[in-house]
Symmetry: C2
Subunit: 83 residues, 2 copies
């Protein structure tokens, strides 16, 4: 069994209005030394298989979890001993 | 200058409808060995300050970035040499 952590972030060139909104909110709470905020998605998947897990993770990211036009993704695969 | 990575996830006891929806979509794409999906937020903050950065990050998470009632958060703080 595997635990996979997937991080999906907007490409650097893409404007992040959500990040700008959060930054402005932080400034209004007096955290003015925050100069940049980028918001992305963090997903934890549990995969109950032992065959070519990395290949499957790549496919899932390319086909569903990330939008390759505007997003980048990276992942960490960790084997978990099933209880 | 500091780069902070914040991971906000739903508490284990909280139902994750978004995660269930993604899991069902992955199953419909034939990735049936995905047994669980949890979706969270991933944020990258740039902080231009050298005073009690960790304290500020904790406060920002407690006050804005995470909802302490239903979410947990963790963070990684990395010093960045300003170019």
């Amino acid at each position: 069994m595997y635990k996979v952590k997937v991080y999906v972030t907007l490409k650097e060139s893409v404007l992040d209005p959500q990040g700008v909104a959060v930054k402005n909110s932080l400034h209004s709470l007096s955290y003015t030394d925050v100069t940049n905020v980028r918001i992305g998605k963090y997903m934890e998947l549990t995969i109950d298989s032992n065959e070519n897990v990395e290949q499957k993770v790549k496919e899932m990211c390319d086909r569903l979890l990330a939008n390759p036009v505007i997003e980048d993704y990276r992942y960490e695969i960790e084997e978990v001993v099933a209880q």
